[in-house]
Symmetry: C2
Subunit: 461 residues, 2 copies
């Protein structure tokens, strides 16, 4: 139930007493907090609070809970599925000032950060200890936001997703209680896994304010490479065989020839306009050499060519910069367009079929839609580049995406590999999970009876 | 609320109509289902049903839910914390006939099994595909039971625990609904992580009937070794430095000199009566060689000696057989005794302190208590070998264990690394989790309002 205007005014007044001028109703700020970075549709909140501590968040949550006013946690705004749209109005909790690294233990290879710390900030801080935090969704997202969407990205094939790398959370529950979900031990079988319940809950069960993460040692040797293929099938089959051989790939990314053309133009790379794999190997000097030799053999058998090994850090960085800029490259590829993005993940044995059938769909359509993917996990994206004010284009993108999602689910895959559900993917959740969605609803109602925590996201109640 | 005798008779009658002579009230069978394998205390259920399918379990759950009669899932009986004691009476669901391997996908390296399949049965079935399931708690436990206690064991340092290796579950909810918690994709961010909520729930939220597991490729090269140390500190410091160096150990197990004496006598090993590490390395031929060299260097710096590399599979098997028989060795070490077992896990930087202080406690006590541990994870056990009919010995074991648990929790560790809470560890859950236990209770009440699913385990309501 959305709060009435009078209550909102009361709430803003109460918040002002609590945080002073860190609560604002300035239109520019509201608009900035009512949409994702890639979205054109803005549904602004009624107010934004720039919070500074867990205790303060708890007080704010209590106020909102008393007035049934929605709360929407906001990290860096880089979510992709409409997570910030204030469809019931309410308060946006801007976490960006909660950006302290609270403790690092190099011996235990773990760290505790406030939710607003970004992944690049964290990596900068820990690199002198020989450590890094591998989860890399491309954007310089906040750790709290990454936890909430169960983010992953290019390194997940080797290091896992946020699911595997969050050890413990501090959470403010919808009634204002502050809990810590787990201790810092690497494993535990002491009670329900409350940590994992909040990872991926998209802010609908509580506000994550602190996160304890696993870290990893920076490998002795890192080698990156690119490799072109005559066919999409050849590239995907190479990925599958590489994973099945047990080569511990750190990154294995696929770009179809349209995506290659797009990054070529944006990042001036001059790559052959063919399906491409971008690779990274981590290990000891000898280990990496061995991995590279095995990979090369597999790639050659599948029509791979134009190998280019990037040994120097600057060449490697250039490569991954281009990969990370692919989303911006796509926006520039068709000026004025927006990207309507698919995010499926399938068991790897079905990946070739899924990608080849999807490519056929795209070729039979009139839309431009580059494909890119974290294919070592079976996860790939299609970016339908459409003019948002053209309902015909949006309808066609939705039609193709719905076909892709159904295809992925029939292959025992998921409608969302890493972006979350938000608002955009809600129509597909029941198709994927059936009655399990009712179990999710039951949990939501039990945690948040007044439906104040990021309401209307993941599922409707 | 325990069901009254009349209702139990009604329920047994209804069950008999459903499953015929697969329901029994024979005393011998009841007694066998009312205790753990290492427990002397038996609290038998009112009846045992040998179930054969998910649908049948659903029907049984509906009957029990209607009459408020408790249900206790039973795998192989190898749990350790009183998980099977029917403290409110009720029905034991024996899962051992649900022992079918439903599908294997070597390409995806995953498998779906019925909950009663044991880990050895599974490994036998998949080995010709070059695959193995690494989680190894010692006992030949059922996959359903291992999921329910979030089991781990010797290989977890490299391959993770059940938490990391269960991809999806089929679960019968307390109201009889059947759900599947996730698809088979390697990762997903589609909604709440219902899978992880059931992993480690000890049968208190529903009955796990099918499990989809990640598998791993049998490594090209496996090398095992043992290494003795002058001091416990030297052994533990070696473990810590090995982990911190990033050596991907497959197994790294510590036995103190008392435990070595115990396995020496039971398995006739003739090892030096000193703190011992048992090790296993997995990788390519070259990779294993490199790991072994690095480990050796670290061990030597910490006073390691008497290296003995076990290259031949039969020597390796003998070594791990002795490790797995350590629990039986301990029972034989003090004839007539039972083992009261601690199971703490701490951040690895605190492991030396935790083990050395605990050793001092034991030395200052009159009890015999071998120590053994999966120390690569920071997890270790103390087996207090006591006569159960001697209240003084039990009191002393409880005193020492309480000190150990508090020590571990103060070090940001857990009271249970891998055995679960059951009945025995309930007193420590609040010390570890504080108000988070209330959140667990809230979830339990929401899933199971009649408290029929393994009641009285993990926490009291």
């Amino acid at each position: 139930m959305a709060a009435q205007p009078k209550e909102i005014n009361l709430v803003v007044e109460e918040l002002r007493k609590l945080v002073g001028d860190r609560v604002t109703t300035a239109k520019g700020v509201l608009d900035q907090h009512g949409q994702d970075v890639f979205s054109t549709k803005c549904v602004p909140p009624d107010a934004v609070v720039f919070v500074e501590s867990t205790e303060e968040v708890a007080e704010i949550v209590k106020i909102c809970n008393r007035h049934y006013v929605p709360l929407i946690p906001f990290g860096t705004g880089t979510a992709l599925e409409g997570h910030f749209m204030a469809i019931n109005g309410g308060i946006s909790l801007d976490m960006s000032r909660m950006n302290k690294i609270l403790r690092v233990s190099p011996e235990d290879m773990d760290v505790t950060v406030q939710a607003g710390v970004t992944r690049k900030q964290l990596n900068e801080f820990i690199k002198d200890d020989g450590l890094f935090f591998p989860i890399d969704p491309g954007a310089d997202a906040s750790i709290g936001g990454m936890s909430s969407t169960r983010a992953s990205g290019t390194n997940a094939v080797r290091y896992g997703t946020m699911r595997e790398n969050v050890l413990s959370l501090t959470v403010v529950l919808p009634d204002g209680r502050i809990i810590r979900t787990a201790r810092r031990a690497r494993k535990s079988s002491a009670g329900y896994d409350i940590t994992k319940l909040f990872v991926g809950a998209e802010g609908t069960l509580g506000v994550i304010t602190e996160v304890t993460l696993r870290l990893h040692g920076i490998p002795e040797a890192i080698s990156a490479a690119i490799c072109s293929f005559e066919t999409l099938k050849g590239a995907v089959d190479t990925v599958i065989q590489t994973i099945q051989m047990g080569i511990p790939m750190a990154r294995i990314e696929l770009l179809d020839e349209v995506q290659v053309d797009s990054v070529n133009k944006y990042s001036k790379l001059g790559l052959p306009a063919k399906p491409l794999l971008m690779l990274e190997f981590h290990g000891t000097e000898a280990g990496v050499k061995e991995q590279v030799e095995t990979f090369k053999m597999i790639a050659e058998e599948n029509g791979g060519s134009d190998f280019d090994w990037k040994i120097r850090p600057e060449d490697r960085n250039e490569l991954w910069k281009a990969r990370h800029e692919a989303a911006f490259a796509n926006l520039a590829y068709r000026p004025g367009c927006m990207a309507y993005t698919a995010d499926v993940c399938v068991p790897i044995s079905r990946l070739t079929d899924c990608i080849v059938e999807t490519k056929k769909d795209i070729q039979e359509s009139w839309l431009t839609a580059p494909m890119i993917g974290h294919v070592g996990d079976g996860n790939f994206h299609v970016s339908f580049l459409i003019m948002m004010d053209d309902p015909k284009e949006l309808a066609e993108a939705k039609r193709l995406n719905a076909r892709l999602v159904s295809r992925a689910i029939q292959m025992d895959g998921t409608c969302s590999g890493e972006h979350g559900i938000g608002i955009n993917k809600k129509p597909y959740l029941a198709e994927e999970h059936g009655e399990t969605v009712d179990v999710m609803r039951m949990i939501k109602k039990c945690f948040d009876p007044h439906n104040i925590m990021n309401p209307g996201k993941i599922f409707d109640l």
